[in-house]
């Protein structure tokens, strides 16, 4: 038989009734009350004096239980979600970060950047910079294509009948991929042994390729669009490498390749703006499925 060595004082019982005790202390008091008749009687007196009626107690009980349920039901959140949720509402973050495709895209982008950085380090400083400028536009494109792969992967056909805009989801994922990729690539550009304005020449083609993928993915699977654009980019920049065995100086790149000349850069920026505008204006095309 358990020997009771203590009794709850009036303040503790009032705190227990009011729900003011910490969870651990309240559990301890409750366990004690189960075993101690004297304290149960004291609790009944205290409750009577304080005119606590049944509905109020029930309400407090439900409130405590509700708080426990909320903790239990909290969706599992990774470190990125926990960090970002300080500034962005949960209902904006979860549709983006819950997607496995986005995690795959992040991994692919990280690996691609690592591979490019390794190649750049292996080449002579300025020819390494050239390699970076030419190949970098493909990196965010790969990330965006992977992030689009199944825009409704998490709930299949259910997503088609939900009011949350599919275009909004795609745009959010694009922004997430670009928000991850572009700063990393900008940091790598700063580390290149050339002036920053030249080192950032990859930016305009990157934006143009990603915007085109966004715009055309309403018509064709984004992975196909991205694949075709990568081929197109390789064709356009092939002239740059002809007869150079990949060791080409930056000034040669600027002379030979139209996309990196001022007119080409301006044209690519215009493509990015027009493609983004077309995607926004045609956003309803991302919703209805025309085939069963």
């Amino acid at each position: 038989m358990t020997h009771i060595t203590w009794h709850a004082d009036a303040a503790t019982l009032i705190g227990y009734l009011e729900g003011d005790l910490t969870e651990a202390y309240a559990c301890s008091v409750e366990a004690h009350l189960m075993a101690c008749e004297q304290c149960r009687l004291q609790l009944a007196d205290t409750a009577g004096v304080r005119h606590v009626n049944g509905s109020e107690r029930e309400s407090r009980h439900e409130s405590t239980w509700g708080r426990v349920l909320d903790e239990v039901d909290l969706p599992s959140a990774g470190p990125v979600m926990r960090l970002l949720s300080r500034w962005v509402p949960e209902h904006e973050l979860r549709p983006i970060l819950a997607a496995p495709a986005l995690r795959n895209a992040g991994c692919a982008v990280g690996l691609a950047l690592l591979a490019i950085a390794t190649l750049v380090a292996e080449l002579r400083p300025t020819s390494g910079a050239t390699l970076f400028i030419v190949t970098a536009p493909v990196v965010p494109l790969v990330g965006v294509a992977l992030a689009y792969s199944h825009p409704d992967e998490l709930c299949g056909e259910i997503a088609d009948a939900l009011p949350y805009s599919r275009f909004r989801l795609l745009l959010a994922r694009t922004t997430a991929v670009l928000g991850l990729t572009l700063p990393l690539m900008a940091l790598l550009s700063i580390a290149l042994p050339i002036d920053l304005s030249t080192a950032m020449l990859w930016l305009a083609p990157s934006l143009a390729l990603c915007s085109l993928t966004l715009a055309l993915s309403s018509l064709v699977d984004a992975r196909i669009v991205a694949g075709l654009l990568v081929v197109l980019w390789v064709v356009v920049t092939t002239d740059t490498w002809r007869g150079t065995s990949m060791r080409i100086e930056v000034h040669t790149l600027l002379d030979r390749s139209l996309p990196f000349q001022p007119a080409g850069q301006l044209l690519l920026l215009c493509v990015a703006v027009v493609a983004t505008a077309a995607a926004v204006l045609g956003r309803s095309n991302y919703e209805l499925r025309r085939t069963a």
């Binding site: 709930c155 056909e157 259910i158 009948a161 939900l162």
Partner: protein, 289 residues
């Protein structure tokens, strides 16, 4: 003609997939209660439900759902806010728990208030009998339980129209009973449209039935009227009757025949299934009740 009690109005709707006709001039009015779409595979049930759920646009005709036109972008969104949809095929759901998945769908259903959303998620998971498994990974649940998780998401936000495509497929008898109980509770105040090829489902829960066959609407009316379609067309014999359109051996050891009975045939009261079979026979015509 549309009236105040009509939730769904389908007017001469057609849909083709390449050279295959899925729906051919279907007319339909659906009101409060449970309406069952009955028909063989390829009858057009899923296509019609997709059109009502706004995931597919018809090639011809007009549709109004809850008074809104799904062809109009703004109105389509209004429909989606008031709609619960259980598709025939559902996704893989990754590593979600049942709770996380339904909560995710609730976000896409624009239930942004966290407390309200979680209360609703608990409500719908409890309604489908998953209160003790709501924190289990979906991949660890049985097929029937997964189907109930997907049914739960359809009930989020207390939709005014619940569209369920083959909701009892893969459910065991106990789960099927629970499903009927759940649907009946919803249908007491709202509209439920479900597709099935099980006449038992229709007999158990439906207030109205629509028989679709090869893209055409063959029958619209209460289940009792569907059975009455076969009045005078069902008879039993000791041996299979070669003149019958359909003839099969029953559990009682006698042959049940469907079609035009010969003189002196022993006519028996028709069942819902008899009416359905007669309507979907090759030479059947549309019947309205």
């Amino acid at each position: 003609m549309t009236n105040a009690a009509t939730t769904v109005n389908v007017n001469a709707v057609g849909k083709r997939f390449r050279n295959q006709v899925a729906l051919d001039g279907v007319d339909l009015d659906i009101g409060r209660g449970v309406t069952g779409l009955l028909g063989p595979n390829g009858a057009g049930k899923t296509t019609l439900l997709k059109i009502l759920a706004t995931t597919l646009a018809p090639d011809a005709g007009a549709v109004r759902v809850l008074g809104w036109d799904p062809a109009h972008k703004g109105e389509r969104r209004q429909i989606r806010r008031a709609l619960g949809y259980l598709p025939q095929e559902t996704g893989a759901y990754s590593d979600f728990t049942a709770f996380d998945f339904v909560d995710y769908v609730a976000i896409l259903k624009e239930i942004t208030d966290r407390q309200r959303r979680r209360d609703d998620v608990r409500r719908v998971l409890t309604a489908v009998g998953l209160e003790n498994r709501m924190h289990s990974k979906i991949r660890s649940l049985s097929g029937g339980m997964r189907r109930r998780v997907v049914l739960a998401q359809a009930m989020l936000g207390s939709p005014r129209l619940l569209i369920l495509d083959e909701p009892t497929a893969g459910l065991d008898p106990v789960e099927r009973l629970r499903f009927r109980e759940t649907v009946s509770a919803v249908a007491s105040t709202e509209t439920v449209v479900l597709s099935t090829h099980l006449t038992e489902d229709v007999a158990a829960v439906c207030t109205d039935v629509v028989v679709l066959d090869r893209g055409h609407n063959r029958f619209t009316g209460p289940p009792d009227d569907l059975a009455a379609v076969a009045d005078g067309h069902v008879w039993e014999t000791e041996m299979s009757d070669p003149t019958a359109t359909l003839s099969w051996l029953t559990g009682q050891g006698r042959y049940r025949n469907l079609g035009t009975p010969p003189d002196g045939a022993e006519l028996v009261p028709p069942s819902l299934e008899d009416g359905y079979m007669l309507l979907t026979a090759p030479d059947s015509r549309e019947v309205r009740s």
